[in-house]
């Protein structure tokens, strides 16, 4: 056991945990004022719920002893046998509990990510139900495939340093499925103006996400050493590069926007996630910049098409950002950084194919299951609040609260 590694992993876990409330503010600032609390509450309630589900059965499903490459078995149910001694399989220099906790924070934020697609109209009860089911039937399996010892995508050689497919592609495509089933917000088709209520909150959220992402990516090295330093630098570089690029895109079009820069930074963080510990620092510049360009234009196109109200563009940011990042990992990975992965620039073009397989498998599976789950919930408990509740706002109608009280 190594105290330095443990210190870093615990710190990283705390940092990643903070990302979910950060997301709450990032998303909360972008909705209309009457739905601010409701949007925040989605992340907060998921933080509570998934924390518990993870230790009860999530961890063993995702990381427990492998069953045919598809899922972990239930031998670690309720953390049985997951203790203060290091695991022999994962993160062998730190207490097994620390690795478990670190992974918990990933599960939490992944579930919270897709809430951006359904804000301002989903019933709170339905949100929680979908979250619990999605966590169980989508997140845990996909995490096992890619990160679980024996997972089939891991076996195949798919590279995903900190969650390009497991977290971002997964959440992004599921967001789309859920938004399709749920339907658009009242007034969306008519082009009603939906102003962000609090841009400082968006920046606060983005800043805390950036901060926490050091734990996400550099923590995924699982040791406090060479790889962590590399991942740290690529993370910051990609965020900066993408934030600046997005700002420039807005500027070319009209003006350099603050929400734009914040969004860009997050997209850069998404894009570098799978690559952080495999690519060189300079590579983070194009990874971030191209990520921003892709997400930007997907977002423009989604807005123009005006067909799906994927409200806060989780698909454009996380789905596309994660897809690009996963591909970029296949391109820029080099053994000069990490002996565990070589990509196109090392002459290994096969890696790109493997990445495509991982992305495609995740997309198909996550979209399919999410769609079915959403349909099932819609048919049974119903997904949407009443029209009238939507008009009044979810803060009052779902939570009986006002963000800013007092006359």
């Amino acid at each position: 056991m190594n105290s330095g590694d443990t210190a870093w992993l615990l710190t990283s876990t705390a940092l990643v945990l903070l990302m979910t409330p950060a997301l709450a503010f990032f998303y909360g600032g972008m909705v209309r004022r009457k739905n601010l609390l409701s949007t925040i509450m989605m992340s907060f309630a998921i933080l509570c719920m998934v924390s518990i589900l993870w230790i009860i059965y999530g961890y063993t499903m995702a990381f427990g002893p492998d069953v045919k490459g598809l899922i972990g078995n239930f031998s670690w149910l309720g953390l049985l046998g997951v203790g203060q001694d290091p695991s022999t399989v994962y993160a062998t220099t730190v207490p097994h509990l620390a690795f478990m906790a670190f992974q918990a924070t990933f599960a939490i934020i992944t579930v919270a990510l897709w809430t951006g697609a359904v804000v301002e109209r989903i019933k709170f009860g339905a949100l929680l139900a979908f979250a619990a089911l999605w966590f169980t039937l989508v997140y845990c399996p996909v995490a096992h495939w890619v990160w679980g010892s024996g997972g089939w995508l891991a076996q195949l050689g798919a590279l995903d340093f900190a969650g390009g497919t497991v977290v971002h592609v997964n959440a992004g495509i599921s967001a789309l499925a859920l938004a399709l089933v749920l339907g658009p917000r009242r007034g969306f088709k008519e082009g009603e103006t939906m102003e962000p209520n609090n841009i400082p909150y968006v920046v606060l959220g983005a800043a805390l996400l950036w901060f926490g992402w050091f734990g996400f990516n550099a923590g995924s090295a699982l040791t406090a050493g060479r790889l962590a330093a590399n991942a740290f630098v690529t993370t910051n570089t990609a965020a900066a590069s993408a934030g600046f690029t997005w700002m420039l895109l807005g500027w070319i079009h009209r003006r350099p926007s603050v929400v734009g820069a914040a969004t860009g930074a997050v997209v850069g963080l998404v894009a570098i996630t799978p690559a952080a510990g495999f690519v060189q620092p300079w590579a983070a510049i194009p990874i971030g910049a191209i990520g921003s360009v892709i997400s930007y234009y997907v977002m423009v196109w989604r807005a123009k098409a005006n067909k799906v109200d994927e409200s806060l563009d989780v698909f454009a940011c996380h789905g596309m950002g994660g897809t690009w990042g996963a591909l970029a990992t296949g391109i820029f990975a080099t053994t000069a950084v990490n002996t565990g992965g070589s990509g196109l620039i090392d002459g290994n073009w096969k890696q790109v194919l493997i990445q495509v397989v991982a992305i495609a498998a995740t997309m198909v599976f996550a979209f399919g299951v999410s769609w079915l789950l959403a349909k099932a919930l819609k048919a049974t408990m119903g997904l949407r609040v009443k029209d009238e509740e939507e008009a009044v706002g979810l803060d009052i109608s779902q939570h009986g609260e006002n963000a800013y009280g007092g006359v």
Binding site: K34, G187, E192, E388, A391, V392, G393, I396, H399, G400, E401, N402, G405, V407
Partner: protein
């Protein structure tokens, strides 16, 4: 004669009222966030444990100055668009206006509305 219409409506009805007025040719208006109290007795909000009552509810005040002959039509438009039939739909008040001046042009009275 110019009239000033002050309509207190539900915040969630603002878009509908605005669109209805626009459809009937009325663009100029001023909107204020207010808090109101009337038949609707306030609501109970959640506190950490238990709840508390709030007497004043958020409302929107719409002010529009119109020529006397357009007044009734505007009132009808607002009434129709703002109504839900439940308590708290709001009130409309009509006040006399003695004069109106457009700052940009210094036009006065009705002419400042007519000359679009």
């Amino acid at each position: 004669m110019l009239k000033k219409i002050e309509a207190i409506i539900r915040p969630e009805k603002l878009d509908a009222v605005k669109d209805a007025l626009e459809a009937s040719g009325i663009l100029g208006m001023t909107v204020t966030n207010v808090n109101g109290r009337g038949r609707q007795k306030g609501i109970a909000l959640q506190w950490r444990a238990g709840e508390y009552r709030v007497d004043f509810l958020p409302k929107i005040k719409l002010e529009l100055v119109v020529a006397g002959e357009e007044c009734q039509a505007a009132i009808n438009t607002i009434c129709t668009a703002a109504k839900t039939g439940r308590e708290g739909d709001g009130m409309i008040f009509v006040l006399p206006v003695e004069n109106a001046i457009r700052v940009r042009t210094s036009d006065c009275g009705e002419e400042c509305f007519s000359r679009q």
